[in-house]
């Protein structure tokens, strides 16, 4: 089997969300293909395909999560090899994401986190019910580029504004791109609180994250 065939098979296994098969193929191919080529030639095209299919409604969250699991399994095998060889995986940016204080809704946030991760971002998912200071503390700790805050209710979206006000108060506003999203959030609200970006859907959120990061000079 040629290297190209192997990469194609890895791509297909990830698209199908077959974690065992993709891991087996990656393991077998490591003697013939270097890790970076596996990622760029097999795994990333798979996630691009998955992202496209998800955004046009051909597949749904379960299929996306299964593909992401297959991706994670393959990466676990590749990372040590890359470290041994002194290679860097290189991510396009670092995102701290969570659902705001008093809000425990997580599906939308989880989808965005998964899509960001598979789009090449390093994602730190803080979970739900996260205070402004926790968002900022984590962003400082991991030297994030983006803070992404989800809120699903009219009474919790005000905590998105808190994040921006805390950033202002601590003199960190310009350091981070702040993205907001969630059921009741709209562009008007994002503008009103001074957020940098808003995505009506998860796919749109990822597109905005990439665009804002590239405008800033990252990514």
């Amino acid at each position: 089997m040629t290297g190209d065939d192997t990469l194609k098979e890895i791509e297909e296994a990830i698209v199908r969300g077959n974690k065992e098969r993709s891991a087996q193929l990656v393991e077998e191919s490591l003697s013939r293909v270097d890790p970076l080529s596996i990622i760029q030639g097999g795994m990333m095209p798979a996630m691009e395909k998955i992202g496209d299919r998800f955004s046009c409604g051909e597949i749904y969250l379960p299929e996306l999560l299964m593909a992401a699991e297959a991706w994670d399994g393959a990466m676990k095998l590749l990372k040590p090899k890359m470290l041994e060889a002194g290679e860097s995986i290189g991510n396009i940016g670092t995102v701290v994401i969570g659902t705001v204080q008093t809000d425990v809704h997580e599906i939308g946030k989880n989808i965005v986190a998964t899509l960001l991760s598979t789009a090449g971002f390093e994602v730190h998912d803080l979970g739900v019910d996260i205070s402004a200071s926790k968002f900022i503390g984590k962003a400082e700790e991991v030297d994030a580029d983006i803070i992404a805050a989800s809120a699903i209710m009219t009474t919790t979206m005000t905590y998105q504004r808190d994040i921006l006000e805390h950033l202002m108060a601590s003199g960190l506003r310009d350091k981070y791109i702040v993205l907001v999203g969630g059921g009741v959030v709209n562009q008007k609200w994002a503008d009103e609180i001074g957020a940098d970006g808003y995505g009506e859907t998860a796919v749109e959120g990822v597109r905005v994250a990439k665009e804002l990061l590239s405008r800033r000079g990252g990514g």
Binding site: Y60, T158, G183, T201
Partner: protein, 455 residues
């Protein structure tokens, strides 16, 4: 039926599991399994199927699902589990009627059947974000619609100059204020006894809901409180506290569940099953005697696309045929208020749910995310439709829906914004302006041309 104290016991003694494991290892595989086992298929060419066998298979799939999955408790990280027999007992024992309101305004909300000739329960209003200055007028306008049996009052997220936040004292004050506003608005409409059945739309947290529910502020046992789960099939202590308080008082409890199509439930088939399974969760865990469902599309965040109409139609049929509890659905239109597209989307959604045997509520414009985006004319439309379309069958509804979709589906991605209340109503008289009246009359005329009757 398993008692509420027993539910709480299971919430603290059930199997321990992380939320992620519940989603990924338990919920998703089981949904996929039952969809396959019961051969549930979605046909985009039939948004409102007239297929009793499909409805019954969805019901059986939902039973299998809930018996295996149960309800996840976020705070204890445990699962409340039920046997299939316990679920079936609960369905058998669940009240098939709910009574709301007092005096001459008292009404009964009954379960219906698909294709039947009963007038559906017409519920009006909206918990959409509304500014304090127009909230009273909105409630009064809703109350004046004589065909409306029960009402939702707006969500107000401010208290004077203070902006409300979940769990903050301002939320408690906003909730109390809105409770008083709701009662006063209905009194001004001449319907002081009308049941408000969406408490507490202004409160996200249990503590503020309970505070604002104190009878001294106007709440009555004969109103209704909606207990919301978290997607999918999860509940938290905040909601269970509301259930504990309200069951102790003997108030009417309802469930509001909004499964996400494209989320953990997967496609339309899985979402139809999960939407049905919420009914079991509602009866057992939320102690609901009435049920509001509002499945929503993950990408379009509305519910008038063909797959969403299939979800709400088939799950409603599954519930109306097999459970028979008071059940109604809330749709989200992509189009903004005061547009023709809104009325077309609303008509399609109402056709799907009325023919499928459940109660109706105003379809919310603009995906319910625009402040002051709901209009009283939406409620007039709902009630006029509900009474005019008595006896509509699923087969007839499906045909009209398909013709309606030809007019609005291309506008779902980039819908018209429309106009909000303060842009198209005289707030003093609460009358629509000439432009809105023309739009409405034109929409009605065109909808009549498609076979829709209004009364």
């Amino acid at each position: 039926m398993v008692s509420f104290p027993e539910i709480l016991e299971r919430a603290t003694r059930g199997p321990i599991m992380s939320s992620k494991d519940f989603d990924i290892k338990v919920f998703i595989p089981k949904v996929r399994e039952v969809v396959e086992k019961y051969k549930i298929r979605y046909d985009p060419g039939t948004p409102c199927p007239a297929d009793d066998d499909l409805a019954d298979r969805i019901y059986q799939a939902a039973l299998d699902l809930y018996a295996d999955v149960g309800t996840y408790v976020i705070d204890t990280e445990r699962v409340i589990q039920f046997s299939r027999e316990e679920i079936e007992d609960a369905v058998y024992e669940a009240p098939k009627e709910a009574y709301f309101g007092e005096g001459p305004d008292r009404c009964v909300f009954k379960g219906r059947k698909a294709d039947d000739s009963e007038i559906p329960h017409c519920h009006v209003g909206s918990g959409t974000d509304t500014t304090e200055d127009v909230a009273l007028k909105m409630v009064e306008a809703y109350g004046r619609i004589s065909k409306a049996k029960t009402v939702s009052i707006p969500s107000v997220t401010s208290f004077g100059p203070l902006k409300s936040s979940a769990g903050s004292p301002v939320e408690t004050l906003a909730g109390i204020s809105m409770m008083r506003t709701g009662r006063e608005g209905l009194r001004r409409a001449g319907r002081p006894g009308m049941g408000i059945i969406n408490h507490m739309s202004s409160c996200a947290q249990g503590v503020s809901t309970i505070a604002a529910s104190n009878p001294q502020f106007g709440a009555r046992q004969s109103d209704g409180w909606l207990i919301a789960p978290h997607a999918e099939l999860k509940i938290d202590h905040s909601s269970l506290n509301q259930v504990a308080y309200l069951t102790s008082w003997g108030a009417n409890l309802g469930q509001e569940a909004g499964p996400i199509m494209g989320g953990y439930a997967g496609g339309p088939e899985g979402t139809a099953v999960v939407t049905t399974a919420y009914c079991f969760h509602g009866i057992l865990v939320a102690r609901a005697i009435y049920h509001l469902t509002y499945p929503v599309h993950m990408n379009y965040v509305c519910s008038t696309t063909p797959d969403m109409l299939y979800v709400v139609s088939t799950s409603s049929q599954a519930v109306s045929r097999n459970v028979g509890v008071p059940y109604y659905a809330l749709g989200y239109a992509a189009a903004g208020s005061a547009t023709k597209q809104y009325f077309y989307e609303a008509a399609a959604y109402l056709l799907a749910i009325q023919s499928s045997g459940i109660g109706i509520e105003d379809v919310h414009p603009n995906k319910a995310v625009v402040t002051n985006g709901a209009l009283p004319i939406d409620s007039e439309f709902t009630c006029s439709f509900g009474h005019g379309m008595v006896g509509i069958t699923r087969k007839e509804a499906d045909q009209i829906i398909k013709r309606l979709m030809e007019t609005y589906l291309s506008g779902i991605k980039n819908p018209p914004r429309g106009r909000i209340l303060t842009e198209c109503y005289d707030i003093l008289t609460m009358r629509p302006d000439d432009e809105l009246r023309r739009t409405y009359d034109e929409a009605i005329r065109e909808l009549r041309g498609l076979g829709i009757r209004f009364k």
